[in-house]
């Protein structure tokens, strides 16, 4: 299971909150440099799946393998695993008491033990790459939602992760701010980052994904290349979901 080009593997992953079974046996394999988009209605388990991969939620059954290492086993150092897997949240979750630069530096300095000077230089370089160089000394609440979300992406990238997870990162944004965030993710895809993206932006998913997975009721009902999923879905539930999306004018 090592070095075979599989970045992330989920095998029969189950997760319940009380009596509610949110994930009911998820099997998913993500190759290195692959971009997988998770689509599905709210409550279908997309966010929970991503949070399980980042070990923010413990799984109740099955296991998750990252680059050959079972991260769901007992005794695994969760902090070490999380440093290799970046996650960006719907609500940004920037640290409001720190400047943009310090938000980005915190992970490398305190998590990876990177020397301060080096972390600063890397953070400044990353911020510049995503057009945020002039915002580095601002506090997050002085930025637009789109800028905040770009900072959140940069903060995750500063850890030099192997895999990036995106949890509906444009859902809290005004429509005119969505594009700048999606463009950042596009650039990451082009640079070969392995990514799992939960999204409601179907046009974007169709554009960027190597593979689209339709989640419904805690299982992956259908998956395949975006062209096939969006043009000729096989599962009736997928058809129904996409029909509603089209009716809502979102595709």
């Amino acid at each position: 299971m090592t070095g075979n080009g599989v970045a992330l593997q989920l095998e029969g992953v189950r997760k319940s909150f009380g009596k509610l079974e949110v994930l009911r046996g998820i099997d998913l394999s993500v190759a290195e440099h692959e971009v997988v988009c998770l689509i599905g209605a709210s409550g279908s388990g997309k966010s929970t799946l991503l949070r399980c991969v980042n070990l923010l939620e413990p799984v109740d059954g099955g296991h998750i393998v990252v680059h050959g290492e079972r991260i769901t086993d007992r005794g695994v150092d969760v902090n070490r695993i999380r440093r290799r897997i970046g996650i960006v949240f719907q609500s940004f979750n920037l640290f409001p008491h720190m400047t943009v630069l310090r938000n980005v530096m915190l992970g490398p300095v305190e998590g990876l033990g990177t020397p301060r000077q080096e972390a600063r230089a890397q953070a400044e370089q990353l911020l510049a790459r995503f057009g945020l160089a002039d915002k580095k000394d601002e506090y997050p609440d002085r930025l637009s939602g789109g800028q905040q979300q770009r900072v959140a992406i940069v903060r995750a990238l500063a850890m030099k992760p192997d895999i990036m997870l995106f949890d509906e990162v444009t859902s809290a944004l005004d429509p005119e701010l969505i594009a700048e965030v999606l463009n950042v993710i596009r650039e990451l895809a082009a640079s070969g980052m392995t990514m799992v993206i939960a999204t409601h932006e179907m046009g974007f998913a169709r554009d960027i994904a190597n593979r689209v997975c339709f989640l419904d009721g805690g299982v992956i009902l259908e998956q395949g290349p975006p062209d096939r999923i969006f043009s000729s879905p096989e599962n009736p539930r997928t058809q129904q979901f996409l029909q509603r999306i089209i009716e809502a004018g979102r595709l």
Binding site: L56, N79, R82, R83, F89, N93, F95, L106, A156, M159
Partner: protein, 301 residues
């Protein structure tokens, strides 16, 4: 404008100038409230204040009992004679306050963190913190100071100081830490769990998440209530008078009072305490107004 603020003179506001910045409208600070109402409002407030104060003073001074009260409480000569010594002793009150404050801030934060530790393993530590805060919040402060200030020196324990001042201050620290710990804890619990998730997602340990993300935000939020407790502490340094002879403003005032059969020295001490506590109260109000303005500005953005 329905805040019940006595300085809100409703009909006059229409003529006020530009709209006030958000957050200051309901301010209870003198300056802010008056500024909004324009020059006309200021003039009317001033005149009505002068009239009311004049009437009050006139009524008091012309009452038949005034000369007796004046002699006992507001004796000018007595004030002049005793004030310098009491003020000199009051410096000690400030010193005790500052020494205690440093330790309280540290001990209380430790207690709050102990109580916030998650998981079954830390149950005994949580329990310890809970028992501590329940105990010291439940005891009268004067009792704690009495017990430690008189009790501990009499034991003459090896390796521990036997000064009543030391143990009196320890009593202040122990009791106030319980209150301040609860203030900190409220702050810690007010930080949204998503902040912890973001920190943990960066691979930060539980402890580092607490240290770099949770505590800095928690402390910022509880600065006004913390200052409130400081005001209480500053006043309660007078309780040390029961264990520390001759070395504190209230004690000195008592001595002068019983020597001259006059209460003016106690009034001297009162004036000194107010000179510190009232400005501190204003600062707390100002901080609260600023915090509210920030929150509102944040909500708009």
């Amino acid at each position: 404008m329905s805040s019940g603020n006595p300085f809100d003179v409703e009909p006059l506001i229409e003529s006020a100038g530009p709209p006030p910045p958000p957050g200051s409208r309901r301010s209870r600070l003198f300056g802010d409230t008056l500024r909004q109402e324009g020059a006309k409002g200021v003039a009317i407030a001033l005149v009505s204040t002068v009239v009311v104060v004049f009437l009050l003073v006139w009524v008091v001074v012309h009452s038949s009992n005034w000369p007796v009260v004046k002699q006992a409480f507001f004796n000018g000569q007595e004030f002049k004679d005793t004030f310098p010594e009491i003020a000199r002793k009051f410096v000690r009150n400030i010193q005790y306050f500052m020494i205690a404050e440093v330790f309280i801030l540290a001990l209380a934060l430790l207690l709050a963190v102990m109580r916030s530790l998650p998981g079954a393993v830390f149950f005994p530590i949580r329990l310890l913190a809970i028992v501590y805060t329940d105990l010291f919040r439940g005891l009268p402060l004067i009792l704690v100071i009495y017990l430690l200030g008189f009790g501990m020196p009499s034991l003459a324990l090896k390796g521990l100081p036997t000064s009543a001042a030391f143990w009196g201050i320890v009593g202040l620290i122990l009791a106030y830490s319980a209150y301040v710990a609860e203030v900190y804890r409220a702050g810690i619990e007010s930080v949204h769990p998503s902040q912890v998730a973001a920190a943990r997602a960066l691979g930060l340990s539980r402890w580092k998440s607490l240290r770099f993300v949770v505590i800095p935000q928690a402390v910022r939020r509880v600065v006004p209530p913390l200052l409130n407790d400081f005001i209480g502490l500053q006043k309660d340094t007078a309780l040390l008078s029961i264990v520390i002879p001759f070395a504190e403003a209230f004690k000195q005032a008592q001595i002068d009072q019983s020597a001259d059969f006059n209460f003016t020295p106690v009034l001297c001490a009162a004036v000194l305490f107010l000179a510190i506590t009232i400005p501190m109260t204003r600062v707390v109000d100002w901080l609260l107004v600023r915090q509210r303005a920030r929150r509102q500005a944040g909500a708009v953005a």
